[in-house]
């Protein structure tokens, strides 16, 4: 009986193999049913990871991102459509509203069809710029696939992206080459901190429109690594939007294709890259979760954080100035199927601010211990010499990781009257203690003399 039960458990575990942290309702917007065949492996992979895939045409009447004012889907894949517009259900405003409600979008562009106006204005709103003319694509005369694009050089073969910069985790790394056929290059605006490039074009690439009849490219849209082939937006509410320059990356035809790079036969790794990109976009990776957050008066004994949900945080409401305080926070990272202990990238650390309007302390949190699915970070410090209402504030915004912002408010009071050192413990005060007691003793002596000398007053009065 027991073996049967464990078998059932194993079977159930296998069924929920991988699923997004936020939900599994996935909408694929696709122009024609025949197009679906081209993406069958990608969509099959998504279903295999636990998503409930719904395919809709942009022209369909039943298509709506919202139902009763709430998201009808958790994630959307927008594949390029032949038609110029995407219809009333997918205007730029509606797509932005979907992002505001924490929906995630994978947006694929194609140079073969014109970018719909709603997508154009959506990208403009997000400060991502694409070439305005239809058919503009990215070419590279050095990193092209010589077996399929020996003439046009418009199928790029690129290694997996490396770290965006030091201190940032890489969720898109791997071994092999990604084929990027006929991509629409994007440039990112400088002002927005929400934008991050995922896959940059090599320095020898440039974007141009092959329909221009000129022999030389006079004024390319963008060149080199300022061109992005895949870029990402993560909003303040951690909603994610990935812009894929070439929808063909997701097509079966390029998932494991033989290609030739500079005379060398290679196999494209698009299937793996598509999985990494979609699992990041749909919050299967790079999702942070804050568990418990405790702080207590540090009296030399380190308390152990109990990560059980049943035990409340039960933090003190008040501290005194110049007291030793310890702080601990539990952070997990969701990784495909389950929560794992979060480890920040090398050279990066989570920081705690102890702030009243402005931070009085900004301290690096160090990992203290790990549980099965979380890391406990902690730091000890002395409360500043300033009373008032303070916040324990953990704010951690990094590219490709969901944002953390946690606050716990405490009062920091000043010394109570009986908490100061007594006057005689401060040797500098001895002189003035002496001053007081000399005055008091002199007064006592004076009062005694005054009372003693009372009769003489009468004699003086008599003489007067």
């Amino acid at each position: 009986m027991r073996w049967l039960f464990s078998l059932v458990v194993v079977a159930l575990l296998a069924a929920v193999q991988a699923v997004s942290f936020t939900g599994k309702r996935l909408l694929v917007v696709l122009d024609e049913a025949s197009e679906k065949e081209k993406y069958s492996v990608f969509l099959g992979d998504l279903e295999g990871r636990g998503f409930h895939v719904t395919t809709e045409s942009p022209k369909s009447d039943s298509l709506s991102l919202f139902r009763h004012g709430e998201r009808a889907y958790d994630h959307v894949v927008l594949l390029p459509a032949k038609s110029k517009g995407l219809g009333p259900a997918l205007t730029a405003n509606l797509i932005l509203d979907f992002l505001k409600k924490e929906g995630n979008i994978l947006l694929a562009l194609s140079s073969e069809s014109a970018t719909p106006t709603s997508v154009q204005s959506l990208l403009l709103e997000l400060d991502i710029h694409i070439p305005s003319d239809k058919g503009a694509l990215v070419v590279d005369h050095f990193n092209y696939d010589s077996s399929s694009a020996s003439e046009k050089h418009d199928v790029l073969l690129l290694p997996y992206p490396t770290n965006l910069k030091s201190g940032v985790k890489n969720y898109f790394g791997g071994d092999g080459y990604i084929a990027v056929p006929r991509a629409v290059g994007q440039t990112l605006g400088n002002e927005s901190p929400l934008l991050a490039p995922i896959l940059r074009a090599p320095s020898t690439a440039y974007s141009y429109n092959p329909k221009d009849e000129a022999d030389t490219v006079e004024d390319p849209f963008a060149t080199g690594s300022q061109l992005n082939l895949v870029s990402a937006v993560q909003a303040h509410n951690s909603a994610r939007l990935a812009v894929l320059g070439s929808a063909e990356i997701l097509q079966n035809a390029w998932f494991a294709e033989k290609a030739t790079l500079a005379g060398k036969d290679i196999k494209t790794a698009n299937r793996d890259f598509a999985e990494k990109l979609s699992s990041w976009t749909f919050k299967e990776t790079g999702v942070l979760k804050v568990g418990k957050l405790i702080h207590y008066l540090d009296e030399g004994v380190s308390k152990k954080l109990n990560s059980s949900v049943a035990v409340p945080e039960n933090n003190p409401k008040i501290y005194r100035i110049k007291q030793d305080v310890a702080f601990q926070v539990e952070i997990s990272e969701y990784s495909n199927t389950h929560l794992t202990p979060f480890v920040p990238a090398d050279g990066d650390s989570i920081q705690l601010e102890f702030s009243m309007l402005s931070p009085f302390h900004r301290l690096d949190l160090t990992p203290i211990s790990q549980t099965a699915n979380s890391t406990i970070f902690g730091v000890s410090f002395k409360t500043p010499d300033q009373h008032g209402i303070f916040n324990f504030h953990v704010k951690y915004n990094r590219p490709f990781l969901t944002n953390i912002e946690e606050k716990r408010q405490v009062t920091v009071r000043h010394f109570a009257h009986d908490e100061w050192p007594r006057s005689w413990q401060i040797s500098g005060a001895w002189v003035w203690i002496g001053g007081i007691w000399v005055t008091v003793l002199g007064w006592v002596a004076f009062v005694g003399l005054w009372l003693y000398s009372a009769p003489t007053e009468k004699s003086i009065k008599k003489t007067q």
């Binding site: 005060a429 003035w432 005054w450 000398s453 003086i460």
Partner: protein, 143 residues
Amino acid sequence: MPPKQRTPSSQPAPSSTSTPSKPTSSKAASNSMDAQAIATDIWNKYVDKTPQRVKLLDSFLAFLVVVGVLQFVYCVIVGNFPFNAFLSGFSATVGQFVLTASLRIQTNPENKSEFESISHERAFADFVFGSLLLHFFCVNFIN
């Protein structure tokens, strides 16, 4: 009393008016002689005419001035580190001086006309009460 006091102080005045005819050096000498004479005269008058209780009050006031000056000079030279200690020590002395000066005004026989409604016993009781309050505050403040 006031008329009596005026007569001795008016005595040296004629001698000083006769000096302008003399040279300046002897004038200074005679001036210092006169000043000394005035001082001793005032001192003698004070010793003779002042009631004993007022003398007692004056000596206590002088004592408080000395203690207060010592504390202040120490603060200026060494620094005011436990500032509350300096404040309470110094203000104990200054406050005691003020209270004692009030007692002196109220019990001085010369001011009898102004304080007829307040008996000496009442003034002394006020003084003791005020002083005890002051000492309590100062000891409390220095902690």
